[in-house]
């Protein structure tokens, strides 16, 4: 991970330097001094580039001053509209633009300590790279940036503010690693082992295999898994950070973890099937969230549960038409073996509420293509039976840039999963199918406050954005960390 340091403002002598400039503002302080040292070259470049400090715009100068390799000017937009997100995006832009440098310094005297910390977070998040399986990359193509020093007036405060953010970044890195790992490496067993590593952070980790799940009666989850030689797992991760004498009702997060989804007997067409390695992104986000919360020692009692399976077609695979009995006792007619995520969630959610009596449950799942058709790739879909929880999630989404859009639930949609033979069927036509999927999941929620986040459009990005390089986004980690931080750590 990119090393972020904080120091008091001193004129930089070597490496690359980044300056921040808000709209309608002139170079001041250290930036003005740097401009002077460059003989006015920075100001001239700004003028030639018609750069006015707009958000997302940058100007780059090569070696304008003896000893310095590059100077990057980054726009912040209007000062009055500055948010932590804007600052993070500036940090991300710096990490991207200076990736060929080894060391960079950011002049951030104008920022508050917390903003300076978020600048560092943005840089770290953008600098993520998954390099494990590249063996022949040319050295000149590899990013070289190893450290950034943020110069801030109150650098001690900024450094302190960065500590919990770094823990969140660690959680995001973990989630991105899990989602990026190829499906032959990241099997349910392997993913469960990686969850076990959270014990080092003080998380209590319990792993259940096929024997335990059979004994519990997880018929829905086991049906999905039965076509694969890879054994299923359920992992229960508990973080008890509230420290109260009386145990509180925990916050429960549940993730769909289909480590690879061929679609089963209702097999997917070959085109784009490789993407189905990220059908465990909901589980990846829950694991990353637990790492983030434990890493920053969140003062809350939280349980994360992931159901891990591989959905394969084979002689032992589940067939369309099979009827399974879920852990809740409700029977399900499996009409499409590709609507498997909801079957996994059904058992894990029911277990979570029976076992932990949660304050609320939030589940994350790359559940439907329909949610992408509905919302595109800028909002996750949120379905909830609880106004308060929905409101808090919406706010957390706005604050972290992991935006949510509320979708409806209702009796009329529930009718679509009426089965002729069982308590319900697992699909109900294409119209409104993300809503119908949510109705299915809701049947496994026993009047607890609950939200289902359909993140099928958000788990993977096909292009670089300010703080997320192309690939696994770890969508959900920041969102839910923020939810806990803002409302449940009193």
């Amino acid at each position: 991970m990119l090393d972020i340091a904080f120091s008091k403002p001193v004129p930089p002598k070597a490496g690359a330097v980044a300056l921040l400039l808000a709209e309608e503002e002139a170079l001041t302080g250290a930036a003005a001094a740097l401009n002077e040292a460059s003989g006015g070259a920075i100001a001239r470049a700004i003028e030639v580039a018609a750069f006015k400090g707009q958000k997302g715009k940058t100007v780059l100068l090569f070696a304008p001053i003896e000893g310095l390799t590059r100077v990057l000017v980054v726009g912040l937009g209007k000062r009055a509209e500055l948010t932590t997100l804007t600052v993070e995006e500036a940090g991300g832009a710096i990490a991207a633009a200076l990736s060929q440098e080894v060391q960079a310094t950011i002049l951030a005297e104008g920022l508050a300590p917390s903003e300076a910390a978020h600048l560092g977070l943005g840089a770290v998040l953008r600098a993520y790279r998954f390099d494990l399986y590249r063996t022949k990359e040319k050295p000149e193509d590899k990013p070289k940036l190893t450290g950034i020093t943020v110069q801030a007036e109150d650098h001690a405060k900024a450094r302190a503010a960065f500590v919990p953010l770094k823990a969140v970044a660690e959680g995001i890195y973990l989630a991105r690693d899990l989602v990026t790992e190829p499906p032959n490496v990241l099997t349910p067993t392997e993913m469960a082992e990686r969850c076990r590593a959270l014990t080092k952070l003080g998380v209590k980790v319990e792993i259940m295999g096929p024997k335990e799940l059979e004994k519990l009666g997880f018929g829905a989850l086991l049906g999905v898994s039965q076509g694969s030689v890879q054994e299923p797992r359920m992992v229960v991760m508990q973080w008890n950070g509230a420290g109260g004498r009386k145990p509180r009702k925990p916050l429960v997060f549940v993730g769909q973890g289909v480590t690879f989804d061929t679609r089963g007997i209702s097999i997917k067409p070959a085109s784009g099937m490789e993407d189905m390695k990220w059908d465990m992104a909901g589980a990846g986000a829950v694991v990353g969230l637990m790492a983030a919360l434990a890493g920053r020692k969140a003062k809350a009692d939280v349980v994360g549960l992931v159901g891990l399976v591989e959905n394969m077609p084979s002689g032992t695979a589940q067939r369309p038409g099979d009827v399974v009995t879920s852990y809740s006792g409700q029977t399900i007619e499996v009409l499409n073996t590709d609507a498997e995520g909801r079957l996994v969630l059904a058992d894990v959610l029911w277990y979570a509420q029976e076992k932990f009596d949660p304050a609320f449950m939030v589940n994350l799942a790359t559940l439907t293509g329909a949610i992408i058709v509905a919302l595109g790739q800028e909002h996750g879909g949120m379905f909830s039976n609880d106004e308060d929880l929905a409101q808090k999630l919406t706010s957390a989404g706005i604050a972290t840039g992991e935006k949510l859009w509320r979708m409806p639930l209702g009796e009329a949609y529930d009718k679509a999963i009426k089965s002729d033979i069982a308590d319900m069927k697992n699909i109900g036509g294409r119209h409104g199918s993300a809503i119908i999927a949510a109705q299915f999941i809701q049947r496994f929620v026993n009047s607890k406050p609950w939200a289902h986040l359909d993140i099928a459009g958000m788990a993977w990005s096909s292009k670089d954005t300010a703080c997320v390089p192309k690939g696994a986004t770890a969508y959900g980690v920041r969102l839910l960390d923020r939810l806990v931080r803002d409302h449940y750590e009193a």
């Binding site: 058709v373 509905a374 595109g376 859009w405 979708m407 209702g410 949609y413 119209h431 409104g432 993300a434």
Partner: protein
């Protein structure tokens, strides 16, 4: 007919004659020639006005079955729950012991329309039904009649014989609401009659086959609105270019049935700028050069539902003499394949001035709406503009058949529409469109691309992002009725076929938000 009754009816009056000439027939003429015509009459009557053989719907609260009928109800297991109906040969204790009675479970006002619909479904084979509204709050009684009327609609009968193939086809033509004081008509009843007429008018237009309902024939139908006090102005095909409506002209160019832009204007009484409705009026949509698959292409005769709904809403406003000035702009065209049809790759200048690169000739709705929206804004300087369109399949994937997709550049207008939708039983759900999506529509050659190509695209949001470029700062909402416009099958509550979704929503919006002179 009883004194004080108020009647609504609406007829399909267009036929293409054997010669191919378009003829507009009035109702009497149609009857003489034996051509199909759907009528639905609503009457307010006293119990003594009721014919002896007209079946009577008797609303019953749970556990409150009248004593004389209790034994029969008990045997049949009827208790008055909201989903129950029970048909009885008659009430021996009444003055008409042989009048059929339909006991109808009823639970509060919110479900009264659904109950009325169930009653109509249960009595489908009768030509006339009556609903006993005596002793009920007027609002509940009217809602029962409204629900029954909505369920009684059916496709016009173009068969040579009667429609009743198996004895279950809907036959209801007259619905009488029995009240204690039929001379007291009241605002609520008047509005309901207007709404039913408007809804039937819109559904009839939507159901009408596209060989009969061409853009020109659609315009002929608007004579009914003109008679109701709505000014009708038509910009014909040959004048579209001169008005700068090049997108509309291009979409209509492949057909021998020329396009047109229709302006409807209800002056109201308030000295304020109008609210403007814009409705997509593709009388048929083949997809054009980017031709559709054959499966369900026949549904495309209903691709003018947005325009029909807007016209219907104008009729409802006129019938209840709304004080609010309201206009409607209806771009009408047929999207056909032809040697002169517009092509993917074409670049066309819009009325707004923005140039548009055509990607898919089957995404034609947003093109004619774009021209109509900017024309409407330039012409009327409206307080708000709301467009309705069967625009995308993607909205049906998103929200199913229950709710329409709402997109808006104005939070207050969106909130009012959501409230009106709930009040009217035509719910809308707000969905996002983003700056990012506007950016995605950047074209290599023109100001904007019409749409994107690829799998799993949020096409409904993208089309809203496209339209948003043509409305400037005017408060604007776009309602995508691509999922709510049609029902494949009838159920207890809904008739099969076009729903007319939006007529009541727009009427309620005007009533809730734009009729108060003190809060313009």
């Amino acid at each position: 007919m009883a004194s004080g009754c108020s009647t609504a009816w609406c007829a399909i009056t267009t036929r293409r004659e054997a010669s191919g000439d378009l003829t507009v027939l009035n109702s009497a003429e149609k009857a003489r020639r034996g051509l199909p015509e759907l009528q639905l009459k609503l009457s307010l009557v006293g119990i003594t006005d009721l014919g002896p053989s007209v079946p009577l719907v008797l609303p019953v609260k749970e556990g409150a079955v009248p004593d004389a009928l209790a034994p029969a109800a008990r045997v049949a297991g009827f208790t008055g729950r909201p989903d129950e109906t029970l048909l009885l040969p008659g009430d021996p204790a009444s003055s008409h012991p042989h009048r059929e009675l339909l006991l109808l479970g009823l639970d509060g006002q919110s479900l009264a329309e659904a109950a009325g619909a169930r009653a109509a479904a249960a009595l489908a084979c009768c030509h006339e039904i009556a609903i006993d509204g005596r002793g009920l709050p007027r609002a509940v009684a009217v809602a029962l009649a409204l629900g029954a009327a909505g369920r009684s609609w059916r496709f016009p009968n173009y068969r040579q014989g009667p429609p009743d193939i198996d004895g279950s086809a809907m036959q209801i033509e007259r619905i009488s609401l029995v009240v204690d004081d039929p001379a007291h008509i009241g605002q609520r009843w008047r509005e309901a009659v207007g709404v039913v007429e408007a809804m039937v008018f819109a559904r009839n237009l939507i159901a009408e086959p596209a060989n009969l309902l061409t853009p020109q024939a659609f315009i002929h139908q608007l004579g009914l609105l003109e008679a109701a006090g709505v000014a009708v102005e038509v910009i014909p095909a040959e004048a579209l270019g001169g008005e700068g409506l090049h997108l509309l002209a291009a979409v209509g160019r492949g057909s021998v049935n020329p396009p047109a832009l229709v302006l409807l204007h209800w002056p109201g009484r308030l000295a304020l700028p109008p609210v403007v409705f814009v409705g997509k009026g593709m009388t048929f949509d083949t997809g054009g050069i980017s031709i559709k698959g054959a499966d369900r292409m026949w549904d495309m005769r209903g691709d003018m539902a947005g325009a029909a709904v807007c016209a219907g809403a104008m009729l409802a406003l006129a019938r209840r003499n709304s004080p609010a000035p309201v206009a409607a702009v209806l771009p009408l065209a047929e999207n056909m394949i032809g040697g002169d049809a517009y092509r993917p790759g074409d670049v066309i200048r819009s009325h707004h001035g923005l140039t548009v690169e055509i990607v898919d000739t089957d995404a034609e709705g947003r093109l004619i709406l774009a021209d109509a929206l900017s024309f409407a804004i330039a012409r009327f300087r409206p307080r708000a503009v709301i467009d309705l369109a069967t625009l995308t399949y993607s909205v049906a994937v998103a929200l199913g058949r229950e709710m329409a997709g709402l997109y808006a550049n104005d939070t207050v207008l969106a909130a009012h529409l959501a409230a009106a939708g709930l009040a009217a039983g035509e719910p809308v759900w707000r969905l996002p469109f983003t700056d990012g999506q506007r950016d995605q529509l950047a074209s290599d050659i023109a100001d904007i691309k019409q749409c994107l190509n690829g799998p799993l695209l949020p096409d409904a949001s993208l089309s809203a992002a496209f339209l948003s470029r043509f409305v400037g700062e005017t408060p604007w909402a776009h309602i995508d009725i691509g999922g709510t416009d049609l029902r494949d099958e009838a159920d207890e509550r809904h008739a099969a076929g076009p729903t007319g979704f939006g007529v009541r929503l727009l009427d309620r919006l005007i009533a809730l938000r734009y009729e108060d002179a003190d809060h313009p």
